[in-house]
């Protein structure tokens, strides 16, 4: 792959000549999913917020502060750092979209704060974010790769952030929503989760296209590097999760969710899952909150074989079906 043309001459992007169809597909997905926090009626959660006790409110604000920090890093450093490594001009354009949306995500937490919380509460939460060791450590590990000189490792760090590091935080609004609390806030978080899923998929895809062109030694090095970075981050993530959730007793439940998402982050990078099924048994209520139909029984094979699982009549707006 030759990127010289991107560096030595100024090139106008031509969307009528696409080298990698994935660029167009992901651009279309991301722009089709575009949203702004102002459209989500978070103020409908004020009563629900007031039902939470002081400790639950503090926990929620700390979680959102942690998420804000990661989105800030990804929007202003992470996604931007990928641009010079792009192999097509369309890939550069997709990264600019990703960077912008990360800034939208970061701002959406401030929208939640300003709607639900007092100024002293907000200041306290941000102060906590600056002093929590494990939160600072995860941001610093990632930042060190963004500033490093290895484009492949930058993509690994970026994918692990998008597909793994957010989930200790995402657990909480999914939990509240499963209990009927902060449901509008959860709607907004689901939009963020959907965006991050596309980001992780795309950056991981670009990583795999780069790796497949390299020597066997280099491929082995990157694989080792990925698993060991994941484990470093995972160890830190366990401690971060304990800091946040030990007082409410949900830590082990959150860790299931972490490992489940760690597996998916690895798969986005083309590597096999690391954690076993018994280590990734996500609480069904959390899974249902994330994806309303995820817990429906679609395992036709393990049933008696007589009960067919036929999909309910699905509305589809695609007009290219002929039957």
């Amino acid at each position: 792959m030759n990127t010289d043309h991107l560096k030595t001459s100024v090139q106008a992007i031509n969307w009528n000549r696409i080298d990698d169809p994935k660029d167009q597909e992901v651009w279309d997905r991301l722009t089709g999913n575009f949203w702004l926090p102002e459209k989500v009626p978070v103020s409908n959660d004020i009563q629900s917020w007031n039902r939470l006790n002081e400790f639950e409110q503090t926990l929620t604000m700390r979680v959102f502060t942690g998420l804000t920090l990661l989105d800030t890093v990804q929007g202003t450093v992470g996604a931007i750092s990928l641009i010079p490594d792009a192999v097509t001009p369309h890939e550069e354009a997709v990264y600019t979209n990703i960077a912008f949306m990360e800034s939208v995500h970061a701002k959406s937490y401030s929208q939640i704060f300003s709607t639900l919380c007092s100024t002293p509460q907000i200041d306290d939460a941000f102060r906590w974010g600056e002093t929590n060791e494990n939160l600072q450590k995860k941001a610093q590990i990632i930042m060190s790769y963004y500033k490093g000189d290895d484009p492949d490792k930058r993509k690994v760090a970026s994918t692990l952030l998008e597909s793994f590091l957010f989930y200790s935080g995402f657990y909480l609004p999914m939990y509240w929503s499963s209990r009927g609390e902060l449901t509008n806030t959860a709607d907004m978080i689901r939009l963020i989760i959907r965006d991050e899923a596309v980001h992780g998929y795309y950056i991981g895809y670009k990583f795999q296209r780069s790796v497949e062109k390299q020597s066997a030694e280099r491929q082995a090095e990157l694989k080792d590097y990925t698993y060991s970075l994941l484990m470093d981050l995972y160890d830190n993530e366990e401690e971060y999760t304990e800091d946040l959730y030990d007082p409410v007793g949900w830590t082990e439940d959150v860790k299931m969710f972490l490992r489940y998402n760690a597996n998916k982050a690895l798969m986005n990078l083309g590597y096999d899952a690391l954690f076993t099924p018994d280590q990734t048994e996500v609480n069904p209520a959390i899974l249902a909150s994330l994806s309303p139909n995820a817990d429906e029984n679609h395992d036709f094979f393990s049933g008696s074989g007589s009960s067919y699982v036929i999909g309910k009549a699905e509305e589809t707006e695609d007009d290219d079906w002929d039957f």
């Binding site: 169809p21 997905r29 036709f300 290219d320």
Partner: protein, 135 residues
Amino acid sequence: MGSLVYFSSVSGNTKRFVDKLDYSEDSVHRIPLRRTEDPLVMEDEFVLVVPTYGGGTVKGAVPKQVITFLNDKRNRTLIRGVITGGNTNFGEAYCKAGDIISAKCQVPHMYRFELFGTPQDVDQVKQGLERFWHN
């Protein structure tokens, strides 16, 4: 044993899942990615394996190439089931392509896996398909 038909984009997640099922080469068929390639026409019964597209919306969940393949009546009459790939992080659209195809073609939505599936997914589908075709 029936055949497997699958569609996989250039990211190849679905292909990777299908490869792990260890079917013989002549009983696995890929729906072409580009319109310029010859369309696939099946002559024996098959189970379809597809990813869900669209990243969170129902519109566009079934890849266009798969719709084109199923619009051919010869193919539609031979489909016996559908297996879908997806990602729960896409919310309501998780594996939606399977629900849509299942409803349209009146065949069971047999199984759902995430990305390219875990080893447990591969085992369950492998054994499940074996039992299915022997019944």
